[in-house]
């Protein structure tokens, strides 16, 4: 099979990218989705709070997904369900498999990676103890309760204050469980402030900052955990250990872009985001391969995923119509944006500066009152004032193309925080 665009993943990023391609007049599209339904993880996110930016109203996950699914159906964009992509070459040959067609080989002119992310598990944390039942990732528990109808447990400790963990604290409480505490290793929450408020404070669930779980107790079933305070180097402080009895431990300790395929296709990866390095059209280091959504970097809002997917669709259109210049075709030609003081990462990491762009970034700590600046090493090209930046919240920074006119192919720019307090 030969197509113009293969979209890998039928979640929010894939659906919005497909619609963006369609809007730009591209018709030869196929979406490959490994699940039996479109919509991705939104299907299990039954809480509200989605769509405030994109639709201007507050929707639940399934509702947000359905709006995009309906548009994809209306536009008659083809998709294959139960279809797992197993391999991808640098020349954009995609190998997939499904129960109906068996192995499928697709030669694509462009590929949009939209596979989302996965949760960090207990294995990534190396907590000592046995391997009893009752230790779940927060997203797994969410699926069990909201889709399968099983209750994971009654007495719960949550490790990590990521948004899914916070949402699950409330959900479990509503289902009659006793959520004893949330432990967060950092001195601040990695989730949205509004979720601390409405999921923990509403129900009197304590959050313990600079605390972690250092031991898991139980043989067949989890019986309890030992929590302890940690020092600034995140080492447990002796003497602060406390045993907390519980039958369930939820892990909400971070998400990692699903980059198995990106590695197979030899894409250049960003060690901080865990996703591919891209330019402002969301094009990776392999010309014609684009990435958007949580496979690129983990977003806190699905609305921003949809927005980013729209940019990737535009990038594909430019590429297919020969509008991608030398600058955007070759990764080394695009200027590199490096992160300076206070900035953990920035997306895109490379820019051509041909059009106005918007940078998405996260801070490496909490900073009050200051400016985020883009410099060329000597002078400040653009700046934006912020009252506060926190690592749990992705921030955005618009740059006019005029200020980028001086940047040279392969040049370097720096984004940094400057405190005004």
């Amino acid at each position: 099979m030969k197509v113009d665009v293969v979209i890998i993943g039928g979640g929010p990023a894939g659906l919005a990218a497909a619609l963006s391609c369609h809007k730009h007049g591209i018709r030869d599209i196929i979406i490959l989705e490994r699940d039996s339904h479109l919509g991705g993880i939104l299907q299990q996110c039954i809480h509200n709070g989605f769509g405030l930016h994109w639709f201007g109203e507050e929707l639940t996950g399934p509702e947000y997904a359905q709006r995009f699914i309906d548009q994809v159906e209306k536009a008659q964009i083809p998709y294959l369900l139960n279809t797992m992509v197993v391999d991808m070459d640098e020349d954009k040959t995609v190998y997939a498999i499904n129960p109906k067609h068996g192995p499928i080989k697709i030669q694509a002119k462009t590929v949009i990676l939209a596979m989302g992310c996965r949760e960090r598990t207990r294995g990534a944390l190396m907590i000592p103890g046995g391997r009893p039942a009752g230790v779940y990732t927060a997203g797994m528990a969410q699926r069990l309760i909201n889709i399968e109808g099983y209750m994971p447990g009654r007495e719960v400790v949550i490790l990590g204050s990521g948004d899914i963990g916070l949402i699950m604290a409330r959900r479990l409480t509503w289902e009659g469980a006793n959520v004893k505490m949330v432990c967060e290793i950092m001195p601040y929450s990695t989730g949205l402030i509004r979720n601390i408020r409405q999921c923990l404070e509403d129900y009197g669930i304590p959050i313990r900052f600079k605390h972690t779980v250092i031991k898991i107790h139980g043989r067949e079933r989890l019986e309890g955990v030992t929590v302890a305070q940690v020092d600034d180097a995140r080492r447990p402080v002796p003497g602060t250990e406390e045993y907390v009895s519980c039958d369930t431990l939820l892990l909400s300790v971070g998400l990692i872009p699903e980059n198995e395929l990106s590695q197979k296709a030899n894409l250049q990866l960003d060690p901080v985001t865990g996703g591919p390095v891209v330019d402002e059209y969301r094009q990776t280091s392999v010309p014609g391969v684009f990435a958007c959504g949580n496979v690129l970097h983990v977003h806190d809002l699905v609305d921003y995923v949809s927005e980013e997917a729209e940019i990737a669709g535009y990038g594909v259109w430019r590429y297919l119509n020969g509008l991608a210049s030398q600058l955007t075709r070759h990764v080394d030609m695009r200027a590199k944006i490096e992160t300076g003081y206070g900035i953990r990462y920035v997306v895109p990491q490379r820019i051509s500066g041909e059009e106005d762009i918007e940078l998405f970034f996260r801070s490496d700590n909490i900073y009050d009152e200051g400016m985020v600046e883009l410099t060329d090493g000597q002078k400040v090209l653009a700046s934006k004032r912020f009252l506060r930046i926190v690592p749990g919240q992705m921030e955005r920074f618009k740059i006019k193309k005029q200020v980028l006119s001086g940047i040279k192919p392969g040049g370097r720019l720096l984004i940094r925080w400057r405190s005004l307090a």
């Binding site: 039954i46 929707l59 639940t60 509004r194 601390i196």
Partner: protein, 118 residues
């Protein structure tokens, strides 16, 4: 006291203090909705309830649902008792009313997912 606005992801930190004339004074709100929220929060906190209810004969075992407007926070547990007893029949469409006037709040519990009949 400090209040964090939950209306949008910005999460504005607002200061709410009693004013001279018995009214609450709100500071730090990024928009007018924030002020309304703060005043509401000080008198009667409102929340949207989202949950899943059992469905018979459908492509899923559960259908997700929400209250079609926010309800007083202290009515949530009562509302949940009603949703736990409920069993609906497929097919269900987004927006279908599953429980009218849940817990006497004036809000309806509506489906947020499509479940087809098998």
């Amino acid at each position: 006291m400090e209040l964090i606005c939950i209306l949008c992801p910005r999460g504005c930190r607002m200061q709410v203090e009693p004013g001279a004339d018995g009214q609450w004074v709100v500071k730090g709100n990024g928009c007018s909705r924030g002020k309304d929220y703060a005043l509401q929060e000080m008198t009667c906190p409102m929340r949207t309830l989202t949950t899943s209810v059992w469905v018979e004969g459908g492509t899923y075992k559960l259908v997700s649902a929400k209250t079609d407007r926010s309800i007083p926070r202290d009515k949530i547990m009562e509302a949940l008792k009603q949703t736990k007893r409920l069993k609906v029949k497929a097919p269900v469409n987004i927006g279908d009313v599953l429980i009218e006037n849940i817990a006497g709040t004036g809000a309806n519990l509506v489906a947020t997912r499509k479940v087809e009949r098998v």
